[in-house]
């Protein structure tokens, strides 16, 4: 990061749109802000975050490309706009629901989750209803990822390939059943990768290709995607 992206021209130019805060853990107590890494939720290096003027972490990201920086800025900016809207209209169900969904997307909070389920039981706009449905789909996909990770960890080394194949089939069936990523977000790539593998195994060439095209949409943002997509297409060729 420090010898690469942070030396590139796009970083020098685009970073001027932000206040740049540098924290160096040095093990010398007299240096500025020692311990701030943990305070802001970091547990490894480098840790890069977007914060508001109150110092609240809005999102963490890796500024490895210009698109990744732009993506994080959009996400953080949207969050601030939703938060301000909810603060300006504390009794507005739409403003509250949208803000709570954004907040839950950053950090789990049981109290907020309960509040959200109460808010959406009431009258909300069709746009907020649609956003809520997308939020629920996203949550289901994230839960799928968690369950798959647990199954992989529980499997013996020799069984892992079989378990992964089994979950790829589950992902494909789930995708085919209508559970698709509600947005072009990196959090759903793993689910899509599995669904593409499952579709490939099932011989659903057209279905697999559609999912691969969705994954390919990240190529500008994540350079490794191009190779991953190539591998998926090779697998698809083999299955024919």
């Amino acid at each position: 990061m420090e010898g690469g992206p942070l030396l590139e021209n796009w970083w020098t130019e685009d970073s001027k749109n932000f206040v740049l805060y540098l924290n160096i853990t040095s093990k010398v107590e007299t240096h500025p802000d020692q311990g701030m890494l943990q305070t802001k939720g970091g547990n490894g290096f480098p840790y890069v975050v977007m914060m508001d003027s109150a110092g609240e972490v809005l999102t963490s990201f890796r500024p490895s490309t210009q698109a990744a920086l732009k993506d994080a800025a959009t996400k953080a900016g949207n969050f601030v706009a939703l938060r301000d809207a909810a603060a300006a209209k504390p009794n507005d169900a739409d403003a509250n629901a949208n803000f709570i969904m954004a907040k839950l997307g950053m950090k789990e909070d049981a109290e907020l989750r309960t509040k959200l389920s109460e808010v959406v039981k009431g009258k909300i706009s069709p746009a907020t209803r649609k956003a809520y449905e997308a939020f629920v789909s996203g949550e289901k996909i994230k839960a799928f990822g968690t369950d798959m990770s647990k199954a992989m960890r529980a499997a013996d080394k020799e069984q892992r390939d079989a378990v992964a194949a089994e979950w790829a089939v589950k992902a494909y069936e789930s995708w085919k059943g209508g559970l698709k990523p509600p947005a072009q977000e990196t959090a759903y790539i793993n689910y899509a990768m599995n669904a593409a593998k499952g579709a490939s195994k099932a011989g659903d060439k057209a279905g697999a290709e559609k999912i691969i095209v969705w994954i390919e949409g990240f190529a500008a943002q994540i350079p490794q995607i191009t190779k991953m997509v190539e591998d998926l297409r090779k697998e698809l060729e083999k299955e024919k």
Binding site: V19, L20, L22
Partner: protein, 69 residues
């Protein structure tokens, strides 16, 4: 007894001081890195927050370390 205390102090404190000096040197070396000198970084969060309020900007916080590569 006094001599033993001095010896113990030297045994523990001198390496610690040397280590602390090592951390300081590594920190100073880190500050010379191109990625730091090429941009306008603020090193204290409260100052970054004040600047963000004044300029109505978001803060990009970059957390790194100097004691190890």
């Amino acid at each position: 007894m006094k001599l033993m205390s001095v010896a113990l102090l030297c045994f523990f404190a001198v390496p610690l001081l040397a280590q602390a000096d090592g951390f300081e040197e590594k920190y100073q070396e880190k500050l010379k890195k191109d990625f730091i000198t090429k941009a306008s970084w603020v090193m204290k969060l409260d100052e970054a927050q004040a600047k963000a309020r004044e300029q109505k900007k978001l803060i990009v916080g970059y957390f790194t370390r100097s004691y190890a590569p």
